[in-house]
């Protein structure tokens, strides 16, 4: 079971950490491993893989945090990831975190885990809540009945960790208790299937045939794949198609829950959850008429807080980096090195860090809303609306956050468990007009639509929303077709969030942003700097710089949109951040640092009128928000394909709409 590593007498124990969502699994993982964690991805899927270790009494205990699941039938990605880890990587101990205040549903996963035949340990978590409300859990009865060690824990306060580690070490050194759910009449079917599976020595020596037989009845795609290219499949498949598989599947679930009924009766006194406080809160928070207004007010408050609280920090970062840049420009020789350091690297690092206050504050608020259980209510409130556009309730938060800043919004899609829904939400979010696009709108609406600037800006937001909806619809119809994802979600009782858990959550996001997205952002910024500064000796972004040359190369391409090369260059600058479009135009129109001078220059120039100005605003709205957003899309999807798709699709949509505006609007109003 355990193995001796080269480091001497230390024994390595590998632990798979399982559990339902919302049971404190992450808290327990963090409490057990501290900062000794490694975050990666499961091979081939965009599901995060967290692992960590703990040295305990001479053992090196390696813990892999499996995705939170309610069951282990490999039909969804998370379930398959968990199943495959337990089957293929053969951990020494399976540790399940159980919410003691919700035994019945939690034990369903236990019943399925027991079928793997591995040593198990149960962490009876949140036992404080259970005891507070006067239930008593008879751990000895539970242990006797299940044949599994069970330890009381309160992960959020670090209670019970040593006992739990002792139990893990104990379980790793003893053979597992051979306890399985008995399936009554179905046992005959199971033994028929086992007999067929056992004929294949290679398969049956690697996997438990009882586990495979039950999963076949439940139509588990992973087990079907394991067996479908074996010769025994020729007997198994007709057998499965002859039986009433659906009825049998129901019987399996039924038997598991009957066993659970017995466990609960034997081990729990007064274990009937009372949720009076939570239910009373819900009477207001998801009230028929009050629910949605309360949500909108809370959302508005969150925005206000995020931006008002972040602004001083952002100004500090901005001026700090500007000052540093000026100092470098004045004191470093030669000039090209000063420019590389000031405009390229310092500017680049600055443009990564500038979003950090936003991200930290947004995720502190979001973490509180999530841990308290309110985000599940938001999904409940908004699901109908979101479902209409091919999304689900949990997509509402990222989309609405997108109006503030797309970056934390895209990162917030992590709460969407369905992979397809999450990808569609990520692809739709960049069209929600973030605050960085506002300066561009203000400039052009002010210069060309002074009498109706507000209406024009409002139209931009509306165009963004429509494009986001159409994008979601298109992806749902043509790319992610097939069975629509069900919306079956637990509404957990309201809980007081802990500082520790919200802090860890926020730190995780901030770290991911700086480390993963930051690299790409920096690369993008330095590339744009190089194009604007080369060849040596040109004015930054001036007429002879490479970026201007590229702008001129692109001129024939943007001409049908009514843009000249200067606009093309400004749009290239806009890849760094949308507000730089304005700064880029100032350089190109020789307007210095004054926005009023730029307004006059734009009006006097004659190459822009209301129609192509509107087209330019639309183009700025729709093409890639900024290199940081692309970096975050890569960080979240871990897919170059989807990152490139998002960028290319945004540019294509922007191009087509601006083209239509100029080609149709030009002759009409121009």
């Amino acid at each position: 079971m355990s193995e001796v590593t080269d480091e001497g007498a230390k024994k390595a124990i590998r632990v798979a950490l399982c559990g339902n969502p919302n049971v404190g699994k992450s808290s327990l993982f963090n409490a057990l491993t501290g900062s000794r964690q490694h975050v990666g991805n499961w091979p081939g899927v965009t599901v995060e893989r967290k692992s960590g270790y703990r040295n305990y009494r001479g053992h090196r205990i390696e813990i892999v945090d499996l995705p939170g699941t309610y069951s282990l039938i490999a039909s969804a990605k998370d379930e398959e990831v968990a199943t495959r880890y337990i089957i293929e990587e053969d951990p020494d101990v399976v540790l399940q975190v159980v919410d003691s205040s919700n035994l019945e549903r939690n034990l369903y996963l236990t019943m399925q885990l027991m079928e793997f035949g591995k040593p198990m340990v149960l962490a009876m978590n949140m036992s404080d809540i259970t005891e507070e409300r006067g239930d008593s859990l008879d751990l000895d009865a539970l242990k006797r009945f299940l044949g599994t060690p069970a330890v009381r824990t309160v992960a959020s306060q670090g209670i019970g960790l040593e006992d739990l580690l002792d139990a893990v070490v104990g379980a790793a050194t003893k053979p597992p208790a051979d306890r399985r759910v008995g399936y009554g009449e179905l046992e005959a079917t199971i033994s028929d299937l086992r007999e067929m599976i056992d004929k294949d020595g290679e398969i049956s020596s690697r996997f438990s045939s009882r586990w495979m037989a039950t999963r076949l009845i439940e139509n588990d795609s992973y087990v079907r794949r394991l067996l479908s290219d074996r010769s025994i499949w020729q007997d198994i498949e007709p057998y499965l198609s002859r039986m009433d598989r659906e009825e049998s599947e129901m019987d399996l679930a039924d038997s598991r829950y009957s066993v659970i009924d017995e466990v609960v009766v034997l081990s729990c006194r007064r274990c009937k959850p009372k949720r009076s406080v939570s239910d009373n809160m819900d009477r207001v928070l998801v009230h028929k008429y009050l629910g949605i207004p309360i949500f909108l007010i809370l959302l508005w408050g969150a925005f206000e807080l995020t931006f008002s609280a972040a602004t001083p920090f952002m100004d500090l970062i901005d001026s700090g980096f500007a000052e540093l840049g000026t100092w470098v420009a004045d004191n470093v020789q030669p000039d090209w090195l000063a420019s590389l350091m000031a405009d390229g690297i310092i500017g680049g690092v600055g443009s990564v860090l500038i979003f950090l206050p936003n991200i930290i504050i947004m995720f502190l608020i979001l973490g509180i809303l999530e841990d308290s259980g309110y985000l599940a209510r938001v999904a409940f409130l908004m699901d109908r609306l979101m479902n209409r556009i091919g999304l689900q309730g949990k997509s509402a938060i990222p989309l609405l956050m997108g109006f503030g800043c797309n970056i934390p919004a895209i990162m917030a899609t992590r709460s969407i468990d369905d992979r397809k829904d999450r990808l569609i939400t990520i692809m739709a979010t960049p069209f929600m007009s973030c605050s960085a696009r506002l300066p561009v709108f203000i400039l052009f609406a002010g210069a060309f639509f002074s009498h109706m600037a507000g209406t024009i800006i409002f139209m931009m937001y509306m165009i963004g929303i429509v494009v986001a909806i159409v994008t979601a619809k298109l992806l749902r119809t043509f790319v992610f077709k097939g069975e629509p994802s069900a919306f079956i979600m637990e509404l957990p009782p309201y809980r007081l969030p802990t500082i520790r858990s919200v802090g860890v959550h926020t730190w995780d996001r901030a770290y991911m942003y700086v480390r993963k997205a930051g690299t790409i952002i920096l690369l993008g910024v330095v590339a744009i700097w190089a194009l604007a500064s080369l060849p040596f000796g040109v004015e930054y972004g001036g007429e002879d710089s490479w970026i201007a040359i590229i702008g001129k190369v692109f001129e024939p391409l943007v001409e049908p949109l009514g843009f000249d090369w200067r606009i093309a260059v400004a749009l290239l600058f806009g890849f760094i951040a949308k507000e730089i479009v304005v700064g880029g135009l100032m350089t190109l129109y020789g307007a210095g640092e004054s926005e009023d001078a730029l307004t006059d220059a734009l009006k006097a120039d004659g190459s822009l009128n209301q129609v192509n100005a509107f087209g330019l605003m639309t183009f700025s709205l729709l093409y890639m928000p900024c290199v940081a957003a692309a970096g975050v899309i890569w960080g979240e999807t871990r897919s170059w394909k989807w990152t490139l798709f998002s960028v290319a699709y945004g540019i294509a949509i922007a191009y087509v709409i601006a083209l239509l505006i100029w080609q149709i609007g030009g002759p009409l109003f121009g």
Binding site: G182, G184, D254, V259, V286, F380, P493
Partner: protein
């Protein structure tokens, strides 16, 4: 009658789960198995999804998925599969 039908406040019992595919398995994993009592708590302000209480916790599901859950207002007399409990195999 399906779980999408009963009025808010009522309690019904699951008789069977229709349909096929992964949704069915998910519904059952969440505790909606034959014989289980389900209390209808509320509908979302926009009419959908539905919030129910099952096995002591609150679950929300869309009417479209609730259609797969067949229920009756009385505890069904369905001959229960007779499990042997936990034991060594």
């Amino acid at each position: 009658m399906s779980l999408a039908d009963p009025p808010v406040g009522g309690t019904v019992y699951v008789t069977s789960i229709r349909g096929s595919g992964s949704i069915r398995g998910r519904i059952m994993a969440m505790g909606l198995v034959p014989g289980t009592a389900v209390e209808i708590i509320r509908r979302a302000p926009l009419g959908d999804p539905l919030e129910v209480r099952v096995k002591g916790y609150n679950l929300s599901l869309r009417a479209q998925d609730a259609l797969l859950v067949m229920v009756s207002s009385e505890l069904p007399a369905r001959a229960r599969n007779d499990p042997k409990g936990l034991g060594g195999v």
